[in-house]
């Protein structure tokens, strides 16, 4: 026998209270049952499609007029704000001044400020052709936020939990389409500012697409916006960019990732390393302005 509705006139107020109570209980249970902000238990089966939409769904962020809008936002807001907050000192800018082909920027990660510091260190041309891999389970949890971040920084969702092939497919497609890629191979922001072990995805991507990897070390970002802090604070920062690295013949993804990690660690410690930052002649040649070649009529 089904219970009569509260408006039937029988047990009126009592039944209304029971219905409201039941609704409240349901809502509470639903709210407490899913923990999207904690790591997924490893015993769980593989998730089907990851939370966000696939990378191609954010293609709008890499098309006009969004690129122009982003350029204006970055020139008018992001870069002046970064400059004012940290007056970043950039070393090795010549390596990213005249890029002939797409590269992967592999940087240490200790703060949300890292991305703007890297973008600040790039030339306008390079920045316009750069996408940033953003954690799908963090930035794209809420579609609106994901879209806004994509508009500002040209991010795309990068899954931290799926299988290697699936994760890297979107990235390699972007690289093959001529986009530079900013990756934080540690996978997450460092709590203590130290560089943590790099995940092998960066080596895998470089091997698969034969793309050079530019090691980048960022110092000071953690003081601007450490993990858990909502608002940035002014602090000096330094971005040190190394010479592009390519996998040696026969070098596996893990070995190459290890080499990239070592390069970032060395950049952090050594002021001048010719092996990583190049001789002056290499840097001088790298910074040579590209000569315009006019076609013959």
């Amino acid at each position: 026998m089904t219970a009569k509705p509260w408006y039937s006139g029988e047990r009126g107020v009592t039944q209304l209270a029971a219905a409201v109570g039941s609704l409240v209980e349901d809502v509470r249970r639903v709210r407490r049952a899913w923990h999207w902000d904690t790591p997924r238990p490893h015993t769980w089966p593989e998730r089907g499609s990851v939370v966000p939409a696939p990378a191609s769904d954010l293609g709008w962020a890499r098309q006009e007029p969004v690129r122009t809008i982003r350029y204006l936002i970055q020139q008018g807001l992001l870069l002046p704000f970064t400059e004012a907050m940290s007056h970043p000192k950039v070393e090795g800018r010549e390596w990213v001044k005249e890029l002939d082909r797409p590269v992967i920027f592999a940087a240490n990660h200790s703060s949300h400020a890292d991305t703007s510091l890297i973008l600040h260190a790039l030339t306008d041309t390079a920045r316009d052709r750069t996408v940033v891999a953003a954690a799908a389970d963090y930035w794209f949890k809420r579609p609106l936020m994901g879209n806004i971040v994509s508009l500002f920084l040209n991010t795309f969702p990068f899954s931290r939990t799926g299988g290697a092939q699936g994760q890297l497919h979107a990235s390699s497609t972007l690289l093959k389409s001529g986009w530079n890629l900013v990756l934080f191979p540690e996978g997450s922001r460092s709590q203590d500012g130290r560089i943590h072990e790099f995940k092998p995805g960066v080596g895998h991507l470089a091997n698969e697409t034969r793309t050079p990897v530019v090691p980048v070390h960022i110092r000071g970002a953690q003081r601007i916006m450490p993990k858990g802090q909502k608002l940035p604070l002014p602090a000096a920062a330094r971005v040190r960019i190394g010479k592009p690295m390519t996998p040696k013949p026969g070098e596996g993804s893990r070995e190459f990732t290890g080499r990239v990690e070592k390069a970032v660690r060395t950049l952090a410690e050594t002021p001048k390393s010719e092996e990583l930052q190049g001789t002056w002649i290499e840097r001088w040649r790298a910074s040579k302005p590209r000569e315009l070649v006019y076609g013959e009529d």
Binding site: E94, K272, W284, S287
Partner: protein, 525 residues
């Protein structure tokens, strides 16, 4: 063809003439019959500077092509002039940047791994990183700063070496890196005939010990004028030192000259003769005059010091120093020479906001003297425009205003030394060494952005000849106390100053106004 300089006689129809007045401007009416000397118009610059530079390096004067001097494994040093040249600072790209980029391209091609770039400051202040970047450009700066591109430190005992003495007993010191190099390439910018030649290395990469050999009262009083090297004891001394340097290290000189296009279009009325002013120029003058009359000094300074001169390259020569410098002097004289007939009883001039030693700083009273009675008075060849015993009148607000970062020793010089005496010889004997060896001034010179402790003395010595030669020096519009401290007379208006001058030179004096800047060189016949 650019219009040559001219001497114009003031008649009833002559418009009033522009006087620079520190960080301001004035229009003054000169008595009928006075002369106004105008600099020549800017010469047409070289259309393709890069090609001219390549050509100069490929076919140097009395030397081998630069390419043949560069080889793998050598120690190469590039030295270049600091921000004191040109004035105002040149709009980017600076010609030194263009030359250095070409030289570095060649060095890279030759595989020269050991290369250093040194800003040849002498005893000038260290430049800020942005100032260095402005001279050398972004590409050189980002490749070499700060480990291979740095500034000479004339007080570092480990980084300077004593080379020896000239036949006249002048001690010669040199930056150690330069002295140990297989080749030193000096990239210079010659704005006036005083610059360049042997003086570049002998002062730019030297220490106090070497520079004091010619930056002293005796030598500067014996220089007629500094702007005419053959008649300058200062330059003879530098040549002797330079020859000793060349015996020690192989030097390849590259000298550039620019035209006298000193003011951007916003202030083009300063570049033009008053008879050529358009209504826009008049409006611009009025606007600038009103603003500078009421604006606070710091605001005016920011505006003036942000001006960049659209100088154009007029010559570039490379090779052996004497041959190169001769060509540079020809090019400079070609741009700035103005024939002037005879001397005059009174010379008037406006002292502008900028001299070689106050880039991005106020022109303090000692520098006003250096600029007016030192540099501007000496812009002549042969003999001064002013007759012996005549009166020098210049306009400047002459405020008690010092930049504590750039000019700390100037403050003490003004407060302590000038309170005692203004006589250059006495000042030199009593005070110079104490200031030069003061540990605090030394520290500020080495680690901050301060001029050397001895520098205010040199600034004062530059004016020694004018102070001895002129019967009187009158400053119009200056703060009375300050002007008196400098040992000069103060006047409120130009008319007052001319009346005061008549007491020295007699009634109905002849008057000549030097309309500088832009820079000119009076060829007095």
């Amino acid at each position: 063809m650019a219009r040559p300089g001219a001497v114009i006689e003031v008649d009833r129809n002559t418009p009033p003439v522009l006087f620079h007045y520190g960080e301001g401007v004035r229009l003054e009416r000169l008595p009928l019959g006075s002369r106004i000397v105008y600099p020549p118009d800017p010469l047409e610059p070289i259309a393709h500077p890069e090609r001219a530079i390549k050509r100069a390096l490929g076919k140097p004067l009395d030397d081998d092509p630069l390419k043949s001097l560069l080889r793998r494994g050598m120690k190469l040093t590039l030295a270049f002039d600091d921000l004191s040249l040109p004035l105002p600072p040149m709009a980017a790209p600076d010609v030194r940047q263009l030359v250095m980029e070409e030289v570095i391209d060649m060095a890279a091609e030759a595989g020269v791994e050991d290369i250093h770039l040194i800003a040849a400051l002498g005893l000038h202040r260290r430049m800020t990183a942005d100032e260095v970047r402005h001279i050398v450009g972004d590409r050189i700066f980002s490749t070499f700063w700060p480990d291979r591109l740095y500034q000479h430190d004339g007080e570092d005992p480990d980084e300077n070496v004593y080379i020896g003495k000239t036949a006249q007993g002048e001690e010669v010191t040199l930056n150690k890196r330069a002295a140990e190099s297989d080749l030193v390439i000096y990239v210079n910018l010659t704005l006036v005939p005083m610059d360049g030649g042997h003086k570049s290395m002998a002062t730019g990469l030297a220490t106090y010990r070497g520079i004091r050999a010619h930056h002293n009262v005796k030598t500067l009083l014996g220089s007629r004028s500094y702007m005419n090297p053959p008649d300058s004891a200062l330059h003879h001394s530098c040549i002797r030192q330079g020859q000793l340097i060349e015996d020690t290290v192989r030097v390849f000189h590259i000298e550039t000259t620019v035209n006298n296009h000193a003011f951007p279009s916003l202030a083009s009325f300063m570049q033009k003769r008053e008879t050529d002013w358009t209504p826009q120029d008049q409006a611009m003058f009025l606007a600038m005059k009103q603003i500078t009359d009421i604006a606070p000094p710091a605001f005016k300074r920011n505006i003036f010091h942000s001006m960049r001169a659209p100088y154009g390259l007029t010559s570039v020569n490379a090779g052996q120093v004497d041959a190169v410098h001769e060509k540079s002097l020809d090019a400079v004289r070609n741009q700035i020479s103005v024939p002037v007939e005879g001397q005059t009883d009174i010379v008037t001039m406006g002292v502008p906001y900028l001299g070689p030693y106050n880039i991005n700083a106020p022109m303090n009273p000692v520098l006003v003297v250096c600029m007016g009675a030192g540099y501007l008075f000496n812009l002549y060849r042969g003999k001064p425009v002013l007759r012996k015993g005549g009166v020098l009148i210049f306009e400047h607000p002459c405020r008690y205003e010092f930049d504590a970062v750039q000019h700390p020793s100037y403050i003490d010089f003004y407060d302590e030394v000038l309170a005692d005496t203004t006589d250059p010889l006495e000042i030199e004997t009593k005070y110079e060494v104490r200031f030069a060896e003061d540990p605090w001034f030394r520290q500020l010179y080495r680690k901050s952005n301060a001029y050397h402790g001895a520098h205010p003395f040199y600034a004062w010595y530059w004016a020694a000849f004018a102070m001895e030669y002129a019967g009187d020096i009158i400053v119009v519009g200056g703060e009375r106390d300050v002007v008196h401290r400098l040992g000069f007379k103060a006047a409120t208006t130009l008319e007052d100053a001319l009346e005061m001058a008549e007491q020295t030179v007699g009634r109905h004096p002849s008057i000549t106004h030097l309309r500088v800047p832009p820079i000119m060189l009076c060829d007095v016949q």
